[in-house]
């Protein structure tokens, strides 16, 4: 039986765990642990394996929501996680030192998967740091030849995460009728 999944990725603290929690129908399986390396300067615990949530669809099907571990030392898992995925949700933390560098890193890392599917980008923490702006992200993306949806999101707000995932799906097929 096919396993349908959407992958959430992004740097440490971007809100992957929270975003999955916002739209999952079941309490997400979290694998957070006390941070023991450089991540600790940004948050007290971090995801060391992966996050997992489920959306129950009509007809009994399930959509699996996977969050990649934020720490790069776990990037060996990323290829396994994306296999069979529908699309990629990239979350970026606007308070980090260089969010464009983060964006480029993840877009490069998941380049093949994005070419095969699509990507939607959510920028978090814009209420704490309003720069760079969403337009600034588009300028960077344009230079990379990309035109994905880029939304300001609060990962705790279901409608924000929902709109981002909807944009991801419409990017795959604008003719969809939900």
């Amino acid at each position: 039986m096919s396993q349908y999944k959407i992958i959430f990725t992004g740097p440490v603290g971007a809100g992957k765990t929270t975003a999955i929690n916002s739209i999952s129908d079941v309490p997400p399986v979290k694998t957070d642990a006390s941070a023991s390396d450089m991540t600790k300067s940004r948050k007290s615990s971090t995801t060391v394996a992966m996050d997992y949530g489920i959306m129950n669809l009509a007809g009994g099907e399930k959509l699996h929501l996977y969050g990649t571990p934020g720490q790069e030392r776990f990037d060996f898992m990323w290829d396994i996680l994306v296999t069979g995925g529908i699309g990629l949700v990239l979350l970026l933390d606007n308070t980090r030192g260089d969010p464009f560098q983060d964006m480029k890193f993840f877009l490069d890392t998941f380049e093949k998967f994005i070419v095969d599917t699509t990507v939607a980008i959510g920028v978090t923490q814009m209420d704490l740091s309003s720069k760079p702006t969403i337009d600034d992200y588009h300028i960077q993306l344009k230079a990379m030849g990309l035109k994905p949806p880029v939304f300001a999101i609060d990962a705790r707000v279901k409608s924000d995460v929902s709109l981002l995932v909807q944009a991801l799906l419409y990017s795959l097929d604008p003719g969809l009728e939900g």
């Binding site: 600790k40 959509l63 308070t95 929902s162 419409y170 939900g178």
Partner: protein, 397 residues
């Protein structure tokens, strides 16, 4: 050693992830980088939030260790805890700088125990000294007011087809969905509040100056540098005003005037701040009433430069689908409606707002209309994707 290059190293305790990050940025931004958050074990100073779930037990445990490091406690109450520096919440910059300064002076006298419990409620004498130190780690300035601008950061309203007519309005005697009436289904933004707002935004950006748009109605204050506006009216009033053709009646009263320095920086209700984009987007929706802007030639394709930031804009029916289609390439408005099998009014209202923000434009080159438009290919998982969409929208199809 140059003390300006030696920020205090602090470890944070008893804070959840968001509070932890907030405090780290608070120290970097408003506190001008005089302290930096480090891993536990490497710190000069420990800061405890004792109002959290484990805060009380953490500080109690810490104090039993008889550490020589200064301790700062953040609390809603002015607690009496021996040998610690208190900062009352909500934390004020002067209080925090005062406590850090005091802690720093204690560090410079390592042989002495911290003897005196100190409630930092007012400015500490040497806080100025530490505040004047050159910022070292500042990457951006955290504006604590920014979070209180709830209208600016809250999730946008999403309209469905059912609510569209009542919310957006219509024009008597015009069926915008009838192809035979397409040629007269346009409107001139300059006759509406939208046109004056667009014009005022351009002036403010060009001058780089805070200005006020006077309309004989409530004044609109425009802050071009932060890309914000301030208007003290509720949404229903704005919707009604935006839908009126005001050029003939109020046009002569319209003016844009610079604000004095005092007026520019005056305290304003933070909830009334909105982003310029969100404000202009909905103003255009209400002026459009389901029509398209007169600057658009209905026979020529339009294109979309980038996706609108939909989470912070009024989301009209099918706006996401229209964006996804137009981002692939230029199409006429009628073709968009046909391909997506939706009423033209939804395409028209979308393009009105997208044009107002400069996100959409009209194809001018013949080459762009020379070849047949590409068909959209249904995704192989179309059924599944539709079920996901239904679930996301709360419809259990």
């Amino acid at each position: 050693m140059d003390k300006n290059k030696s920020p205090l190293k602090v470890a944070l305790h008893g804070m959840d992830g968001r509070s932890y990050k907030m405090m780290a940025m608070y120290l970097q931004g408003p506190c001008k980088g005089v302290a930096v958050v480090v891993n536990q074990g490497n710190e000069d100073i420990d800061i405890f939030d004792v109002d959290g779930v484990n805060g009380g037990s953490l500080i109690a445990e810490h104090l039993t260790k008889n550490t020589q490091k200064p301790v700062i406690v953040l609390s809603l109450n002015e607690r009496i805890i021996e040998n610690v520096l208190m900062v009352k919440k909500p934390v004020k910059i002067d209080d925090m700088l005062g406590a850090l300064s005091k802690a720093k002076s204690l560090l410079q006298r390592p042989a002495q125990q911290i003897k005196k419990q100190d409630v930092v409620g007012n400015k500490v004498n040497d806080s100025d000294q530490i505040a004047d130190e050159k910022p070292v780690l500042k990457k951006f300035v955290l504006d604590t007011d920014e979070q209180k601008k709830t209208s600016k950061h809250q999730a946008a309203m999403q309209l469905d087809e059912k609510g569209f007519g009542a919310f957006i309005g219509n024009v008597a005697g015009l069926d915008v969905n009838d192809p035979k009436q397409f040629f007269r289904a346009s409107y001139n933004p300059k006759e509406y509040f939208q046109g004056y707002v667009e014009s005022a935004f351009k002036v403010c950006h060009a001058k780089g100056q805070v200005r006020q748009l006077n309309s004989g109605w409530n004044p609109l204050i425009i802050f071009p540098n932060s890309h914000e506006i301030w208007l003290d009216v509720d949404e229903n009033q704005l919707r009604s005003f935006s839908g009126l053709s005001i050029n003939a009646t109020l046009g002569s009263k319209m003016s844009i005037t610079p604000l004095s320095q005092d007026s520019s920086t005056a305290d304003r209700t933070l909830e009334r701040f909105q982003s310029m984009d969100a404000f202009l987007w909905k103003t255009a929706c209400w002026a459009s009433k389901g029509r398209y802007p007169a600057s658009i030639d209905i026979r020529q394709p339009v294109y979309l430069k980038q996706w609108p930031n939909f989470t912070r804009l009024l989301v009209t029916p099918h706006a996401l689908r229209i964006s996804a289609l137009l981002i692939q390439g230029p199409r006429t408005l009628a073709n968009v409606a046909e391909v997506l099998n939706i009423k033209p009014q939804y395409v028209f209202v979308f393009i009105s707002s997208a044009c107002a923000l400069g996100l959409a434009g009209q194809v001018k080159r013949e080459a762009d209309v020379l070849v047949e438009l590409p068909e959209i290919k249904p995704n192989k998982n179309q059924g599944l994707l539709s079920r996901i969409l239904s679930t996301l929208r709360g419809k259990k199809a």
